[in-house]
């Protein structure tokens, strides 16, 4: 099915998310139930209305020893015998779940689909989490030699600084901006403003990246309800339409990319999603991009085409990427400040755009009159990318 030949448009009519952070008192199941019921309550649906569940989860197996997540989700919410699917694409698991849910509704197969993402990461120690995350890279030829995820993005940052002259101070501005925004997000893991000096003084993790360049280890879940757009007003006065959604892939290993400074899957998915939605860059009111590490946000803005390669740093120095600028980026604090529960992140990004387009974000970070938002979710070092375009549907 080509996007243009879809049977119908798909609307988001209810969203819900847990607070992101270290939930020592909550299990994987508790997180799923909390986010799921929040979204269902917002949409005003009952259990029997749900026809399909699609959940994104990177590694229940390695983070908590739990697999069979699809049935677990249905079971946890008392939704059996509703069919349930789990999808996995490392850090892009959440938005891949959204894409599968979109296909299910757009094709005409299902009318009410619950899509979500969840990760419970703090039931293992940091070294265990690092090992689990390393599974998103090439196990035999990257992880085997001791490469870590901060290491992957450090290799990218080092090369980018060499090729384009990006300074350490400029890179720190990405984290500063995201903490400035996340300060106002009631569900964010770190609601604290930071300075460039704070970033430069933080512990080295993988040179040149420091602790405050890195998104944290986080527990959290996020869920939304999808229905056909033509029926959306039965559920809400402010439906948000998925007007473009595209996924692209690239080599699992970083060393096999033509360039370390370009994520080809972002370029491909971005072009497709923009073309599906029939929008150009000037139409976009805000973007949520995948800032697992500060350098990843720089690459994302360039590869999505918001500026030329090597020029993203200017947007930070001129303040354009803060709320109030020409291109607000990560108005919820991004992965850096809001947290990064791997499987939930892609859904959380879209939920932030839903809040913004409905005009219900906290006042200091509300983008005035926002009508179109773009979400960019990256898996691994860029082997999977999903780009989603959202529009107001009222």
């Amino acid at each position: 099915m080509k996007f243009s030949e879809r049977k119908r448009d798909v609307a988001i009519v209810g969203v819900g998310s847990t607070r992101f952070g270290e939930h020592w008192d909550k299990s994987l199941k508790d997180l799923i139930a909390e986010a799921g019921f929040k979204a269902a309550t917002e949409a005003g649906i009952r259990g029997k209305d749900v026809e399909l569940i699609v959940g994104g989860n990177m590694s229940g197996g390695m983070f908590v020893g739990q697999e069979h997540i699809a049935a677990l989700v249905a079971d946890t919410m008392g939704l059996q015998p509703t069919p349930s699917i789990r999808v996995e694409a490392a850090c892009a698991s959440g938005s891949l779940a959204l894409e599968m849910g979109f296909l299910a509704v757009a094709s005409g197969m299902y009318d009410v689909v619950l899509v979500g993402g969840v990760e419970k990461m703090t039931d293992v120690y940091t070294s265990g989490a690092t090992t689990a995350l390393a599974g998103a890279m090439d196990l035999e030829w990257e992880a085997y030699f001791g490469l870590t995820f901060p290491g992957i993005f450090a290799l990218i940052a080092q090369r980018y600084m060499y090729e384009y002259g990006l300074t350490r101070e400029q890179l720190a501005l990405v984290a500063v901006k995201n903490h400035d925004h996340g300060f106002y997000n009631p569900l964010a893991q770190f609601r604290k403003k930071i300075t460039v000096e704070d970033v430069l003084d933080s512990t080295l993790v993988a040179d040149p990246l420091r602790l405050l360049d890195c998104s944290p280890i986080t527990d959290g879940a996020a869920t939304m309800v999808l229905v056909p757009a033509e029926k959306a007003h039965q559920y809400t006065d402010t439906p948000i339409i998925i007007s473009g959604i595209a996924q692209a892939s690239d080599t699992l290993s970083l060393f096999n990319r033509k360039s370390l400074c370009t994520v080809n899957a972002t370029i491909e998915a971005g072009k497709q999603a923009f073309s599906q939605a029939k929008i150009s860059h000037k139409d976009v009111d805000l973007v949520e991009v995948h800032d697992c590490f500060t350098i990843a946000e720089i690459l994302a803005l360039e590869d999505l085409g918001f500026c030329k390669k090597g020029e993203a740093a200017k947007l930070y120095e001129e303040g354009e990427v803060w709320v109030g600028g020409s291109l607000p980026v990560n108005t919820d604090g991004g992965l850096k400040s809001a947290g990064h529960p791997i499987g939930a992140t892609g859904i959380k990004q879209v939920i932030e755009i839903v809040h913004q387009l409905r005009g219900e974000s906290p006042e200091p970070v509300q983008v005035k009159g926002a009508e179109i938002g773009v979400a960019h979710n990256l898996g691994g070092s860029g082997a999977t990318v999903v780009v989603t375009v959202l529009k107001r549907g009222d």
Partner: protein, 139 residues
């Protein structure tokens, strides 16, 4: 990396000990790692193992200061993407020098080293690492 059974290591011995890549006789391209499919020709490609050049330059690098399980004793250690003289890129550690000495463009050559131990009863993993070039490497 999780602890794995012996076959997972044994089947990679040649590639990791001898630094093997893949030559596609159909398109003539050398790629890494060795697999069963040429990434350019796919099914049409006829591939075979090939010894890669053991000499190259650092393309990018980092110093790992928060190590995954099994690498704690080596911390801090340098991981780099190396561009070999035959054009192939790969990931490897750079050793036998201070982390501060490593830079983009630095000439390096391959050597054979222990990578890590998988706990007290697991496999001892070996493979290639790279060190500053001194022209002692020969094909």
């Amino acid at each position: 990396m999780p602890q794995t059974a012996v076959p997972a290591h044994w089947r990679k011995y040649k590639e990791r000990y001898l630094l093997l890549g893949m030559l596609c006789e159909t398109c003539g391209k050398i790629t890494f790692p060795l697999g069963s499919v040429c990434p350019n020709c796919r099914r049409a490609g006829k591939v075979k193992p090939v010894r890669l050049s053991g000499k190259g330059k650092v393309y990018s690098y980092t110093v790992i200061r928060a190590a995954p399980e099994g690498f704690e004793v080596f911390t801090p250690y340098v991981i780099a993407i190396i561009e070999l003289d035959d054009g192939v890129k790969l990931t490897s550690q750079v050793i036998d020098c201070e982390p501060e000495e490593v830079h983009i463009g630095m000439p390096v050559q391959v050597c054979f080293r222990k990578i890590r131990e998988e706990g007290k009863e697991g496999v001892i993993c070996y493979g290639f690492k790279f060190r500053p070039a001194d022209n002692s490497w020969k094909p």
